[in-house]
Symmetry: C2
Subunit: 403 residues, 2 copies
Amino acid sequence: MTKKVLKFGGTSVGSIERILHAANLIKKEHSKGNEIIVVVSAMSGNTNELIKKSKSISEKFIKRELDLLLSTGEQISTALITGALNELGVKAKSWMSWQIPILTEGEHTNARIINMSVKKINKYLSEGGVAIIPGFQGLSSVGDITTIGRGGSDATAVAIAKIFNTDSCEIYTDVDGVYSSDPNKIPVAKKIPKISYDEMLELSSVGAKVMQSSAVQTAMMYEIPLQVKSTFTNREGTEIFNQENIDYSKAVTGVAYSKDDAKITLIGVQDKPGVAADIFEPLDKNQINVDMVIQNISPDGKTTDITFTIKRNDLKKTIETLNLNKKIKFKNLNHNDKVSKISVVGAGMVTTPGVTFKMFRALADENINILAISTSEIKISVIIDETKTLEAIKKLHSIFKLN
Amino acid sequence: MTKKVLKFGGTSVGSIERILHAANLIKKEHSKGNEIIVVVSAMSGNTNELIKKSKSISEKFIKRELDLLLSTGEQISTALITGALNELGVKAKSWMSWQIPILTEGEHTNARIINMSVKKINKYLSEGGVAIIPGFQGLSSVGDITTIGRGGSDATAVAIAKIFNTDSCEIYTDVDGVYSSDPNKIPVAKKIPKISYDEMLELSSVGAKVMQSSAVQTAMMYEIPLQVKSTFTNREGTEIFNQENIDYSKAVTGVAYSKDDAKITLIGVQDKPGVAADIFEPLDKNQINVDMVIQNISPDGKTTDITFTIKRNDLKKTIETLNLNKKIKFKNLNHNDKVSKISVVGAGMVTTPGVTFKMFRALADENINILAISTSEIKISVIIDETKTLEAIKKLHSIFKLN
């Protein structure tokens, strides 16, 4: 007997036809003798529509009631999937988060799952029933409905896999796995059959959003194997494991990119101890997240140039903060928001020398100028001119044999 | 300190603008120092949309899950109203039926409210907060969401008025009160300032649907005074009381009508004891509701003609049942579904002689043929040719001085 969590994303339950399709898929898995817990997202578009309603009443809609409002999305899809399974002759029953209960802590709209009761549902599974649970929501310590942040249905699925100790956690979505880059925009992108949690996290945080990052982190922490599959094809998906279970024949697994960064350069900053702290402390206080930082000593040895990147949305606030900062002096402030960030990601990098060099050489061969660099154990990111994005990704696919 | 239930129907919360309007109305009542419990219906159209979704999955959608599905409608409007009140600076909090809890008994989709806890909400009211509660739903003895039938938000409002022992129960809707006939179709119809529960029931069951009948029955049973008001005008509404509190200067309060009846006549039925039972027992077994029955002895003294009315939807099934009935013999079966039922309603009738006569005379004066008659203490109903409906209602308004 295999116990499985099957999680269906918003597009997988986005219409009545798709709900029936998902129900047939669940029926098939159930008929193989598996014990099945289904986690359901809201029908695609539904949550945005509810948010729009709330915003047209108040931009600062009170969070307790916003959670109550948004939780109806998954409640609807949960009821519809359960009804569809019953129509198909499958014994199935819904369980709202307050009925289980799924206990959460933390603020409304941003809660975390801390525990849930398994007894009633395990009994139902052992009697041959399929349990359907809404993703994204839980119950607070004072008995109110909470939600766990956008994309939180992944987190619910992983938490259930952990707490119910299931054999697998299958994430059904509208893509058929994790790709070396965004397959909708980068035609050379290729599906990755197996990937480590770390690589998945690096790829998802910089562009290829297949799963919510915090859910992958939780899966990594508790070593819960994940499978990302398409609801709409029978093709093999992507398995997400621990690094040690993966054979790294390639140094690089994928190339991610994002176009929401901006670059700022402070020219002629007075070079003295503590200047970096003086620059970045006020940014931190203003909740501006600084990504890459590069500092060069200037030719005269007295001043320095500091380049760093931030989210594009924060550009205006960053410039204001820098100009108001009395502690620092600089000659000039340059900024550029026509940049993109390209990252090569691969757990195999650690044991393969020369990846950094190869990447820089490849970009140089294409006449692509690198504006900033940052590296981690399994990722090298560079900032380049936005217009060169596709060219760079293609070249990197070719040089690292991802095609 | 006055404690009030304010109930808002689907059209009163049918859009964001209307939700804000209702919230302002609640704020005004609250600012007068009243303790306010608000009961909310689903936004108009929402419940039908959810039912449509369920039907496109299954015509026999499993009822437990249907209740879960439909209950999202009031959950949404409750959250939006509560958010709007907070935006207006009013302390307000929602309470789902499972949080109170509102306990129900009976089947899914057709449950009855049996009790609810008042302590937490009374404490909140005494602290100056407005409590917002979804109508139409409750919790079963096994902890599942139940619903209490279409229009059930009225029943929730009346149950809350009873259990919280409020001073009044105000039903905000899209009409500004109870009319002597349907004001949308009968231009001569006039608003009734005060009406008894019985009259209200007779008027609502035959056409002028302002409130759900079972909610009026509950209000009558516990003598809870009701007020029906328009959300959209400041005009006086209709107060619904006990009969003894109403001054009956008029014999007739209103004229209701319905066009969903059909008439059947069995000609030449063998006249012997038990023939009526033989005719109507099989109809009852087939859940066909018979309304009026008229029986005349035929000239030859051996056979009789029997006329009765049924719901128009049941016509086909009724004819089939009669033709299959081996126990009875008749020469001919006539049927007519181009009829309407006109009812004059008035608690003052009991003490005013001649209402029946006056009604028949008035119709005769207009050359309107009466096809069937039925009377009760506060109602006289006749079946007439459908094309004469408006003419009859106008004449009865004039003769009973309702204009």
